[in-house]
Amino acid sequence: MKTIHTVFFKEITENFRDRRTLLTALLMGPLFGPILFAFVINLSVKQSLSNESEALDLPVIGQEHAPNLIAFLQSSNINIMDGPATRAAAIEAVTNGEHDVIIVIPDTFAQDLAALIPATVEVITDQANTQAERESRRARRALQAYNQELAALRLTIRGVSPQVMRPLNIDEVDVSTPSGRSAILLGMLSYFFIFALLTGGMNLAIDATAGERERGSLEPLLCLPVKRDHLIFGKIFAACLFMAISLSLSLTCFYFTLKFMPLVELGMTPNFGPLVVLTAFLLLVPFALVGASLMTMVASFTKSFKEAQTWVSVVLLAPTLPILIVSILMVRPTTALMFIPSLSQHLLLVGLIRNEPVNILHVVVSVGGTLLIGALLTWICARLYRREGLLG
């Protein structure tokens, strides 16, 4: 016990003095995720919000052929502009991105309308351009509305109720709650947190094994009258502490960035108060043992610090895999899934953000299962440290 304690404190002291470890553990890992996330969300939220409320600038060619249509469009928050002179010029303007969408009204429009022949209106747009897609949808929706209004008028004139045209009344009932809706967005957060947790201990895990061997300080250490198991336990626990620090910083940082994100305007109230932050920490922190022992294990196979860094980076990506698969398949949490580290943390965190009642069995299985796998990996590390080949 005393050896573990000594090694633990020595690793902590040493790594707190190492600028590289501090930078990745306390700055890079915790801040990178939330800030990137907040930035991206902010940008996309702002864009989708502004588009709906702002008037759409819509160039129309041949406005003089359909004064009523123009008046209708103007009344539905569309700003009619003069377009290019010809249809060919309009196609070119859309192709090179000068305009996102242009409407062309042919000169036969009024004539066709009067003759009850379907009158052509062209919407020129670039389907491959996602930005333009939203604008062209708005233009099409406005045209559709005008279409229905005219149809209804024609029926009314002929003494037929416009209801005839609507045999179905489709009513969608959305049962998602505001916190549920935010879970879709915040679901990917769990990976950011696990990433922060892993990066926090990465340098320490490498330094304590491959780094120590490369510096030549491992061999004299192994000559001391101490059990190798205790040395490796001390190192793994030290990495766990750094991971826990990194995780708590990441959660705290996210708690504050969330306050600056316009999620409420999207109809989302993320369930991410101080109590949730604390619960999330407790749910996620058992993963530190798995991360630390896995990294130590990988690093002890490698010959140098550089090589270890390469391989340990793979460990950073490994937890994404179960999360990704589950996100695609839309799996609901089950007790069996709670045995899988990283996945169980992800599912529990999503549930937490959704404000769903906490399933105690799931939590117990997740924490217990993750710690068990962590303990197993730690034991494997200890076995690896008994090998002769360790010193290379």
Binding site: T6, R17, C223, P225
Partner: protein, 243 residues
């Protein structure tokens, strides 16, 4: 007291040592001399329990290095080849870390660390972080660290490597002090003058076997060479190469 009896060790196809036996007594300095790749480091690494022998036995003060490795390690202070320090810790912290790992009681650690710092004359840089230390400074700190728990047996693997004249002299002085204190010092080298200047006993190793084991004078007599270097060359030629 270190006793080695018929050690064998192979790494895959390579037979590193093939039956090494010798004895290093307390109060004497024993030198392990041999060309590069002769098996010196392998022998020493078995003694400080980092490697396990394929066959044969080795004991430290009667404690078997395989059977009770932990107890054997407690009786030796080791300077492995190319020992490294922790760059973010000061020299004093490096030494104190080993003292703590050797389970010394906290009250005596500070005093004991100061004693070895004085002994190795490293007060000037004892409280500096070891990052950027010269080879001589690093070797001294490594030595201090391996002596902090006052081991009866001291095993040094090529301790004078990379040391300048002054550092080598103080290393010799230290080894003489340890000998005077009744310790058993075993060190490896391929530098003839060093071995000649220090050792009471010389074990010449070649091709994984003991070519000769005697006092310097005994070796001179046995080979009929007045010059120890000539004697060394003659001695290693007596061993038939490993296939």
């Amino acid at each position: 007291m270190i006793r080695v009896n018929g050690l064998h060790k192979s790494f895959g196809e390579v037979r590193a040592i093939r039956g090494i036996s010798f004895e290093a007594k307390d109060g004497r300095v024993t030198g392990l001399l041999g060309p590069n790749g002769a098996g010196k480091s392998t022998t020493l690494r078995i003694l400080y329990t980092v490697l396990k022998p394929d066959s044969g036995t080795a004991t430290i003060d009667g404690v078997d290095v395989v059977g009770d490795a932990l107890a054997a390690r407690g009786r030796i202070g080791t300077l492995p080849h190319g020992s490294g320090l922790y760059p973010h810790l000061t020299a004093r912290e490096n030494i104190a870390y080993y003292a703590m790992l050797c389970d010394m009681s906290p009250e005596i650690i500070d005093a004991r660390v100061q004693t070895v710092i004085d002994q190795l004359d490293i007060n000037d840089f004892a409280d500096r972080r070891t990052k950027g230390f010269s080879q001589g400074q690093r070797t001294k700190v490594s030595l201090a660290r391996s002596l902090v728990h006052e081991p009866q047996n001291i095993i040094l693997d090529e301790p004078s490597n990379g040391l300048d004249v002054m550092a080598t002299r103080s290393l010799r002085e230290l080894i003489r002090q340890l000998k005077a204190a009744g310790r058993c010092v075993l060190f490896s080298s391929h530098v003839m003058q060093e071995v000649a200047a220090l050792c009471d006993e010389i074990v010449i190793i070649a091709e994984g076997k003991v070519a000769m084991h005697d006092s310097p004078d005994g070796i001179r007599n046995a080979t009929g060479c007045a010059d120890l270097e000539e004697a060394f060359v003659k001695a290693i030629l007596t061993v038939e190469p490993a296939e």
